[in-house]
Symmetry: C2
Subunit: 252 residues, 2 copies
């Protein structure tokens, strides 16, 4: 059955979307069947994949009677990599469903049938802890928390960690997590200071792989490509492949 990974951090701009895409694509390169789920109304994952607002999203799946998730999931240009896109209707999802007692299970329930046909489901979430992120946490059995080695990002890790703890207790479910350092600047003293702080607070949760700041990553997104296709020798391409290996060893 598929491993379901939620990629979460309420701090903005820490490479959640970038990690969902490039870690997911790297697992696919290793022959795993991977479904990426864009569960953010900003639809950044969908945009970076070159999709438009005309694509169907999880909202359409939920609100179209008798629609099958297979009609909404799309192939990407990459072998073994599929995506469940987001579109502007995703903004309505929270508004229309927040009052349901079971609103946190909406995503999990729809993903059930897919867990038999893929190896990984990786969920992108918005920079906040609310409807969308809570749905992702409930659907997941593992959480990756990307963070930069900067004061405010490191400070934000505690909040998502707290949410994970609450979900584990109240829903009596297993939910482990790991922290991924992103956009690392090896030459930054401030970066080293904050990395130390991260290790002090979360020692065994910090992944060995770090993704360094790499202009090739920004260039790849302008081209709507995964960085491994844009420039497979670039540091971030190699590091996301390395991350896929590390995750495989941890979860399988």
């Amino acid at each position: 059955e598929a491993r379901v990974i939620a990629v979460c951090n309420r701090k903005g701009g820490v490479a959640k979307t970038t990690t969902v895409l490039n870690m997911g694509a790297s697992l696919a390169v290793y022959g795993k069947r991977v479904l990426l789920v864009d569960f953010d109304m900003q639809a950044n994952l969908s945009i970076v994949l070159g999709l438009t607002n005309r694509e169907k999203s999880f909202y359409d799946l939920l609100h179209t009677p008798d629609s099958a998730i297979s009609e909404v999931v799309k192939k990407t240009r990459y072998k073994n990599l599929w995506v469940l896109p987001s579109n502007s209707k995703m903004a309505l999802l929270a508004k229309q469903n927040l009052n349901r007692k079971d609103f946190v299970y909406l995503l999990r329930d729809q993903l059930e049938s897919l867990k038999k046909v893929v190896d990984y489901i990786i969920i992108d979430t918005p920079p906040s802890i609310e409807f969308y992120t809570l749905n992702a946490l409930m659907a997941a059995d593992f959480v990756i928390i990307p963070t930069q080695c900067e004061f405010l990002s490191v400070h934000g890790v505690a909040h998502i960690e707290e949410a994970i703890k609450v979900i584990k207790e109240r829903k009596d479910k297993s939910l482990d997590y790991a922290i991924l350092v992103t956009m690392a600047d090896k030459n930054s003293t401030a970066g080293h200071v904050m990395y130390k702080k991260l290790l002090e607070q979360y020692a065994d949760k910090v992944l060995a792989t770090q993704i360094e700041h790499d202009v090739k990553m920004q260039e790849s997104q302008i081209m709507n490509l995964i960085v491994a296709q844009y420039d497979k020798k670039s540091p971030s391409a190699r590091q996301y492949l390395q991350l896929a290996e590390e995750i495989e060893k941890m979860l399988v």
Copy 2:
């Protein structure tokens, strides 16, 4: 009467909080009386100023009968610079007030009395277009949209610009805006490509001042200082002072 500036972008991590703090502090350095409003439940502005969750926030102001805004506004360690902090109760603000027909005026109405005693009110907002950002837009007469010269940030500018347009029409209010390039990397080809795109779409809205990527800024936040106090010769310190001048010329 005070000029009210909302600092908004639904893209995460584009230096909204950093701009509210450092542009606000720079205006204060020039002798203006400046109130910073932390209207984000993440409370990053308050945290960077060294404040804790024990401080009163806008929520306390609204929900404590007969409380005056002067009891909630705090001096900062900087001359001419005050802050209305955020705390974790701010998460309740949206939940408890979204159903009010006039919810978008909550912030504006509370700020009225303060507009006579300061020169600038600068509002920090979360990376989303919803309750908090809409309140900030309704209270403001000017919007600064910080953005990086990166594919997803530039893409996000259109959304806040759209929200501004809608508010101007539906509320028949004047609301102008300008775009501030942040964390600029002069050596990045991708950055130059995206800067061109920004100019193509928003030519006359892009501010002349750009804030470059500067490790001193990250260090200053670890120290809970404005960058001008931490290292006044640093590029970002000089650029935020320059920005304050440019804004003064535009708005006064």
